[in-house]
């Protein structure tokens, strides 16, 4: 069991109004598995993925989320940073690239975050090469020095995927990785991810596209704040 959520609760508080999104959501992901999360819009798919990625906090009375046996809630600041940086790769529904950095730099960002100045000097070239190769497999070799603003939505999505993969995480959490792409390009991205999966990458993917979900090994559906 690599990633597990047990009876997770998440409620958003908007002033006085409490919006319960997840209540009693449980999910287990085995090492090397490819799971697709489906559900209607607003059902809480992104919310669950954020919780799994350690980007948001579950309610106080929620059950635990664990990664390789470690409870995420027990993480100290250092371990939390390391978890986000190394253990998981996250692809956001809305890309979230840094506008001032080039495509190459954006893809390298998690690696840069993990490097001290000293190791940066010694590993700089190797890192650049790795990032460039990764972007090439995503079909972006001609865009390395462009800014995100100069890219199409699909191209940005691919930069975000390269960024998620740069530190060779054990789990990839992808929120609608093909949501903005046509069937052809989306298929290309899925092939890319499938290849990674074949190499042993664990993947949890949110999608509302049945065809995309069908490529996963297992599908779960979120209905009424529960995983079915």
């Amino acid at each position: 069991m690599l990633l597990a959520a047990h009876h997770v609760k998440k409620t958003y508080e908007l002033g006085r109004v409490r919006v319960p999104v997840l209540h009693d959501a449980s999910l287990t992901v085995r090492e090397g598995e490819w799971v697709a999360i489906v559900g209607s819009s607003g059902s809480g798919k992104s919310t669950l993925l954020h919780l799994l990625g350690g980007l948001d906090r579950a309610d106080k009375d929620s059950g635990p989320i664990s990664f390789a046996g470690e409870d995420l809630r027990a993480f100290r600041a250092r371990r939390e940073n390391l978890y986000r940086n190394r253990d998981v790769g996250f692809v956001f529904q809305f890309y979230h690239l840094l506008p001032e950095l080039t495509v190459l730099e954006n893809a390298m960002l998690p690696a840069l975050v993990g490097l001290s100045r000293l190791r940066w000097i010694s590993e700089r070239l190797a890192l650049r090469t790795r990032a460039a190769e990764l972007l090439e497999t995503c079909g972006l070799s001609h865009r390395l020095n462009h800014r995100p603003a100069e890219l199409s939505g699909g191209e940005r999505q691919r930069v975000a995927i390269a960024r998620a993969l740069i530190n060779k995480p054990r789990v990839l959490l992808a929120d609608e990785p093909t949501g903005n792409l046509d069937i052809h390009t989306g298929g290309g991205i899925l092939d890319l991810l499938a290849a990674r999966h074949a190499e042993g990458l664990t993947m949890v993917m949110v999608t509302h596209d049945a065809a995309v979900a069908a490529r996963a090994q297992r599908q779960v559906r979120i209905v009424d704040g529960r995983v079915e």
Binding site: H50, R84, F92
Partner: protein
Amino acid sequence: MYAPLLANRYLTSRIIPFIAVAAVALCVALVIIVVSVMSGFLEMVRSSGKSLTGDVVVSRPITGIPDYLELVTRIEALPEAAAASPLVETFGLLQMQYGNSDGGKQIEMVEVWGIDPASLDRVAQYRDKLYWCAPSASELSTLAEDDPRRDAFYQRDEAGMSLQTADGKDGVVLGIELSPFNHRERDGSYRTLNPGSRQHDAGYFMPNAGAVTLTLVPVTDGGSLGGEKKRRFSVVNEFQSGLYQIDANRILVPIGVAQEMLRLNEAPIVSREQVDAEGRPLVIGTSPARATTIVVRAEDGVDLLVLREAVRRVYAEFWRERAMDPKRLFETPEPDSVDISTWEERLADFIGPVEKERELMRTLFSIVYLVCAGLVLAIFWAIVQEKTRDIGILRAVGASRTGVLWIFLRYGVLIGIAGSLVGVLLAWIVVSRINDIHEMLGAPAPLWLKSAAGLAVIFSIGMTVRGVRRASALHVVLWSFATIGFLLVGVALLLHQGFLVWDPSVYYFSTIPSKLDLVTAATTMLGGVVFSVVGAAIPAARAADTDPVQSLRYE
């Protein structure tokens, strides 16, 4: 490793950092300029009160102190005192040689100072205050091309120092504003009031042919007025102390002349009862000459209160010796009746308001400073706030709070330092050129400036028309505002006939203080950096503390 990369990117790939640098620079420059000029002005006002006076003043008005030369010698022997000089201070009537506008001769009530030029020079740089004299090498470079003092004819140093005319007669030195023939120019320099040839001019040049009649009234021992004394003197030079009130009211005469006219000079003492062989009252001694005032200059670094106490002790000793000598026939005033005080005490009425002004100014400056600090803070706040989403991304890929904070600290520090340096430079340029700038404001706008404004108006009208053709709202808005702006500037330039903010006859001084206040510059620079950093750090820390998902939702 991402911190320097991002900080540099944020600095170089946008226009906002430049605006921030400019804003910090303007704030820093504003504070430094205002503080420098205002505190320079107050300092000038304060110290100008001291003009032609010593650090400590011994004074016994009207009847004076006998044997003053002995007292001067003893004071000069003090280790705390650098020099001392006797004066006779009184008031008199001055009748000018030329008529005033209503036909009669101009008569002024003046302060009369009987001085000993040599020792007064040691105490109060008397020579430097003389106006008509050979300029020093450094002065020469700042003197206007047509300044009369470039001409040897107008260089009257020696006459001023000796207070004598060429043929050895007693002369006087007038305050430069006293004579109606000196016209103060807008730039603060004086001109003898007559164009044309020097021969003609000479008649209006007081130190050349001018003469005045001085009337003094002696006061007898009993306190009643003696018969007035009237004497005619040649004017041998004029002085400029820098303080309008002094320059317009004071005349300097040789101390011997003042003593004689006030009957303070050496005189025989005669017996009331005894008579000599010829039946005249018997001379039984001499009364020594008297001075009403002794001005003392402190040795460098000596506290004035310490010097004052030393001088008081000297006087007490001086008095005790004379009081105990039964053979003395004249009285030496008791220490209680002699005023011995520092120049600041003497000018308390004058300095008090200045000090109050200084307090007031400090309060105002704190407000200016706070406003600037708030501005800098707000700018950084807005810049960093706009980067909230970026901070969310960085935290989501594992950046630490301190790492994120570090980016914005770097950002704030770099902008703060750059802005402060530019600000100090700007302030330095403005402050050191403030008199030139002032002069430029004082003159009508030059033709090239008006033409430039005209061309700018035509150009921006053209650009507006182009914007309309291309249907670009931004162009139309920007250029029509530019048109209005240039038009207003142009009209202002046309109407501007020059105005003087710093009128030398209103203010005491002919020039605006132009020294950068180093302490202010340093503290303001520091403040610029600190407020930039704080302004950047607070929103950055707040964003770093929130969960990434929350920050990412920030639009």
